[in-house]
Structure formats: C-alpha cells, structure tokens
C-alpha cells in the first residue's frame, strides 16, 4: 500500500526541500521503498541537497512527455538501495506539466514504492496545483515567523478545498531558548493559530547548513535536527513518538550564563 505525500509550505525558504530530503532518507532507513520527486520545474534543488546532481540524465518532464521510461529517470541513491530520486527539469517551466499528467505519473509510481514524496514549489500557482494533484497526504512546513505561518494558513485553506484529507504540520527552525524567553511563538501557539495537527518540530540546527553544504542529509545522525526528522518518519509510519524536549536543554552553567546574558 503506497502513500503519496506532498511537502508544501506556500512561503519559500522554510525548508520544504530539506525536509523532503531528510524524510525520504529517514523512511528508507526504516526499510521502506521511497521515491522523492522534485516537482519544482525550472528551479531544481532537491538533487543538490542530496548530492545527486551529477547523476541526472533524464527528468520528470522527459518521463511525462514520453522521452524516456520512468525507470530510466529514477536515480538510485548511493546510500540506500531502496531510495530513489526523480529530478525536475531545469530548463523548462511549470506549464510543461498539467495536474492530470502529474497524477498519472504518481499513480504509476504507486506500484513500486511504499512512499512517494513530492517536493512542492513555493507559491500557490500551477506548480502547487501540479504537486498536490496526485497526493494522499500533505505535510505543511512552516517556521515560527508571522509571514511563514500566514502562508501556511493559506495553504491549509487551499488543501481543505482540495481532495486531500490528511494534513499535518512540521514546524521548522524552532529555537527552544527563544521560546523560553518569550521571543518566539511556542509550538502550542502555532498549532492553536493554524488549528492543524503537528507531526514534528525541527530545532534550528547549524548541522542542517553543514549537511546541505556536503549534500548529505542529516537524518538519523546525532544532531537535534537529525533526530527530529527521524521521529517525524516514525510518526509518518504510524508510530507514536513523543516530541523532542521542548525546554531549553543545558546544564546549570549554560543556564546561568544564559540568565546573565539576558539580564
């Protein structure tokens, strides 16, 4: 039984592609057969985050136009044999593909995979409509900022008007120290404002930048963000995993220096 999940946000730069990369790899670590599809036609990004940019021969538009077969375009991830990428086209634009064509492609992929993850472009236009067309479930990525939450609300409204019934929230770039001092909205605040189900919170972690530089997702590594993504994957598969500690983690010394730094 395959589940097709679209990862979307409305606003750009909140971590859709990073989330897609990490969730894909996290699910593969759980022995699922996973395909990640970059649906951002014209602005291809997922391949570089994954470090697979040198292995692209065919892309999504080639498959849809029948230039190649699906199997020819899928790139097997060098780290996991059960993990694949279908890259987007860099030299085309969003109008090259219609929602119906996307849905047909995704349905074709259902037979071969446990999970198909669709990395949605920013915005609410054609690219968004293409990406959600074949999806069963949506993960909405947001950050604790007014603009990102506003856009997430708009996306939730659009998803509610679509065929997608299951949608959950990923709050990215959480700073627990700032939440503690009241300078950042808490997870509870965000969930209350958006009245959506929370599937995970990813701490703001410099390791994400390092991982992106290297083209190596950090899921499962001993980093805060890596752990958070692995937990999200477990929750996607239906396991009940508690949220990471939401309080500022630090020893007495850290807490004291923190206290005086503020005062």
């Amino acid at each position: 039984m395959c589940e097709v999940i679209v990862i979307t946000s409305g606003k750009g730069g909140v971590g859709k592609t990073t989330s897609t990369a990490n969730i894909g790899m996290g699910l593969a670590r759980l022995d699922k057969r996973v395909a990640r599809v970059d649906t951002d036609i014209g602005l291809r990004n997922l391949d570089v985050i994954l470090g697979l940019e040198n292995r692209i021969i065919y892309n999504l538009v080639d498959v849809i136009e029948g230039t190649c077969r699906l199997k020819q375009a899928l790139i097997r991830d060098k780290r996991y044999a059960n993990l694949f990428l279908l890259p987007s086209a860099q030299t085309r634009d969003k109008t090259s593909v219609s929602p119906e064509q996307m849905k047909k492609l995704v349905d074709q992929m259902r037979e071969d995979f446990d999970y198909v993850l669709l990395d949605c472009p920013a915005g609410i236009e054609q690219g968004f409509k293409n990406a959600i067309a074949g999806a069963d479930r949506a993960l909405i990525v947001t950050t604790p900022e007014v603009s990102a939450i506003r856009d997430a609300d708009r996306i939730i409204g659009l998803l509610q008007a679509s065929h997608i019934r299951k949608m959950e929230l990923i709050v990215n770039r959480i700073r627990f120290d700032m939440i503690r001092t009241g300078e950042m909205m808490s997870l509870e605040d965000i969930v209350e404002i958006l009245s959506a189900d929370l599937i995970g919170a990813v701490p703001d972690d410099e390791n994400v930048v390092i991982a992106t530089n290297q083209g190596e997702p950090l899921v499962g590594k001993h980093t805060m963000a890596g752990q958070a993504y692995q937990n999200i994957c477990l929750r996607i598969t239906g396991e009940n995993v508690p949220l990471l500690a939401t309080r500022y983690q630090g020893g007495l010394f850290r807490r004291l220096t923190h206290f005086f730094a503020r005062g």
């Binding site: 604790p144 007014v146 609300d153 009241g182 005062g263």
Partner: protein, 91 residues
C-alpha cells in the same frame, strides 16, 4: 540596559501571535466571498422586516479597525445598508 527587557510587558513572541490572529481573520474572510454573500442574504432577510432594503447597493466587508482605547487593530464587519423606506406598520 537590557534589564528593561525583563519589565517589558509584551515579549515579541506574544506580539507575533496577536498580529497573526488579527491577520488570519481578515485573510480567511477575504478568501471566502461566499461568507460575505451569505452575511448579505441574512442581513437583507432580517432588516426586510423593518424596512425596504435596497438590495443592489448593500455593502458588507471585513476591515481592520483600531480599538478606541488601546489603538490596536481588530477585525470588524462593516455593513452599509441603504433602504428605500421604513415599514409603516412598525413605526
């Protein structure tokens, strides 16, 4: 000087939450012209008991209005209901 930080009544997280709540009310209302239309229908229905409402020139909108005391913006429904004449029976 950062001591003032401790006494400041509202932290920025709280401000963000308050701004978002106001913002989303009007965003959500903007999205649904359906909502406005059903408000219009209901207003006409209620007021028609008392007056002959000019249905074609009825205006209903959701706007941000500053509170008189605090000056903070709050969403408000504003309706302009022109009528032709008051029902004589009622008056």
């Amino acid at each position: 000087m950062r001591l003032f930080h401790w006494f400041r009544s509202k932290r920025s997280g709280e401000t963000a939450k308050r701004r978002l709540k106001v913002l989303l009310v009007s965003d959500r209302a903007d999205c649904s012209s359906e909502l406005i239309n059903s408000i219009k229908t209901d207003i006409i229905q209620v007021l028609s008991k008392y007056m002959d409402v000019d249905k074609d020139h009825l205006e209903v909108s959701i706007v941000q209005r500053p509170d008189e005391k605090t000056g903070e913006n709050h969403p408000a429904v504003v309706a302009r209901v022109p009528f032709k004449e008051i029902n004589k029976v009622i008056c």
